[in-house]
Structures are given as structure tokens and as C-alpha cells.
Subunit: 154 residues, 2 copies
């Protein structure tokens, strides 16, 4: 299995996530953006994901909900820019913390049949970045990336 | 005239702009978001502003262009959240630097007939924040705020 690297420098509002996949950028981009495929990998294992809206175009919106026995967690944002198979710039909001919207830049780098996905997130404050890290975000990210790898292998 | 306070802490990706106006939040919000009014105040004096698109709704896009004899400068973004007379969360891109999209949270605070507008911007890096500051952004902001004050007084 490939490794997921999560970097959260102390005192900054940044989170960087890097993951490689044994698939082409077109394959990874499709799994990342097709609303039929997203529920199969997005979120921690043990939760179900429901896509309410997922319109991957500039100005399009997304909204998905994670649920388990303990409750539900709703996330939403808008796409600022979308370059197929290469780059997405999007906002990100956890509805429990609507005052702490972040901005994510995703790049899909072609390694020659393999793909490196880099997600750079910036939060409106160091405090809100820290709260996201302390929420257990890393667990959900690692699970999601492993599940996406499994999906791409099928 | 009211003062515009611009804060750019060294080593951070943040810019904070605070300005008070002698008008209600509804009046300021309208001038801020009506595409017919925006060209009358947005941008440095000495440049003309043309609004190409200005759809102030969640998922709506904006695009405007500043022009003078030396050239043109194009700006665009999407609105993540819009709460009339209270709050806007939007992305911001100068088309000359499309890799450095920032996120802005604007709040319109009711001071009882007066309004305090606070714009909190966060950039994807300290470097890109510094580049924006060094571009002469402060001059354009101060001019815009003074022009908006004049518009509201009419």
C-alpha cells in the first residue's frame, strides 16, 4: 500500500496531504470527481457517505454527509477552478463549524502511469487549523486514501 | 473621512482590512454587491472598472476588470456563502497569478446606523500574501474604501 503523508506545521494555518496511486491522473481524477464513485471511498471506514450535490465545475457546489450510529457530519463547498485531470481549487466547510471555511488546492501530478495527489489546505486562522487536526481528521484522510486505492485497483 | 486599517502580520498568510461607514449594513451591503454600483467604487481612482459577472449567491461567480492606459487587470472568484447584510465568504483570484487563489471572509457589523466592514483574507502561502502586499494592493484598497464612502454619501 502507498503511504499518505500529512503535514501540519505548528503555528501555521496549513495542512498538506500527499498520496500516490498506482493509476493514471485521468483514473484518479474520475474517482475523485464522479458523484457515483465518491461515496465508495470518501470518509472513514465505518461511516456511510451520501452525496447530496457534486457539480465539479467552476461555480459548482458540492455537499456530502457522513453518517454512523453516533450521528451525521455534513460537508460542503464550491469549486473555484477545475482543470480536468490536473487541478481543483475548492472551498471546504464542515457544517458544524460554518465560520471556519478553508480553501483547498488539489494537484494531480502524472508520474508516468502513477499519480501523486497533493492537497494544500489553508484555514482562516491557526486556531481553526488546529481544531481540524484535533478533530481526528487524519484518521478520516488515511482511511479515505486507502479506500480510494482499493477502488482504483478494482 | 473614516480610516481604513490594513493589517499584514509578518510571516503569516493573512491580510485584515477594517473600515467603518456612515451608513447602515443594508446600504453598505447593497453598494458592495449590486453589479450596477460596484464599478463606481471598486478599484483605484484613475482606473475604470468593468463588471463582467457578479452573481452574489452561494455558487455564484464574479469577474471584473480594471483598466487604465498601462493595461488591464482581471479578477474573479466564486461566492461560497452569502448572508445578506451580514457576511460573505468568497474566493479571490488575480488572473495574473492564477496559482495563488485566496479566501476572503467579509463581515458587515451593525454599529447602530453605522457599519464596520471587516475583510479577512488568507492566502495559500506567506510568499503569495507578501507578493499581494508588495503589488500595491493597499493603495487600491484605500482608494476603493474612500470612493465607496463618497458613493454612500450621495
Amino acid at each position: 500500500m502507498n503511504e499518505t503523508t500529512i503535514t501540519t506545521p505548528s503555528g501555521t494555518p496549513f495542512i498538506d496531504i500527499v498520496r500516490e496511486f498506482d493509476a493514471t491522473p485521468a483514473q484518479v481524477f474520475r474517482a475523485w470527481t464522479d458523484p457515483e464513485l465518491v461515496p465508495h471511498w470518501l470518509g472513514p471506514s465505518g461511516m456511510t457517505a451520501t452525496v447530496v450535490e457534486y457539480d465539479v465545475t467552476s461555480g459548482g457546489r458540492y455537499h456530502y454527509v457522513h453518517r454512523d450510529d453516533s450521528g451525521e457530519y455534513s460537508f460542503r463547498g464550491v469549486f473555484h477552478a477545475v482543470v480536468a485531470n490536473e487541478r481543483i481549487v475548492q472551498t471546504f466547510q464542515y457544517d458544524g463549524w460554518p465560520d471556519d471555511v478553508s480553501l483547498e488546492t488539489l494537484t494531480f501530478e502524472d508520474l508516468g502511469g502513477r499519480t501523486r495527489v497533493h492537497t494544500h489546505s489553508v484555514f482562516p486562522s491557526v486556531r481553526s487549523r488546529d481544531a481540524m487536526v484535533e478533530s481526528g481528521m487524519e484518521h478520516g484522510v488515511r482511511d479515505s486514501m486507502a479506500r480510494l486505492e482499493e477502488l482504483l485497483a478494482r
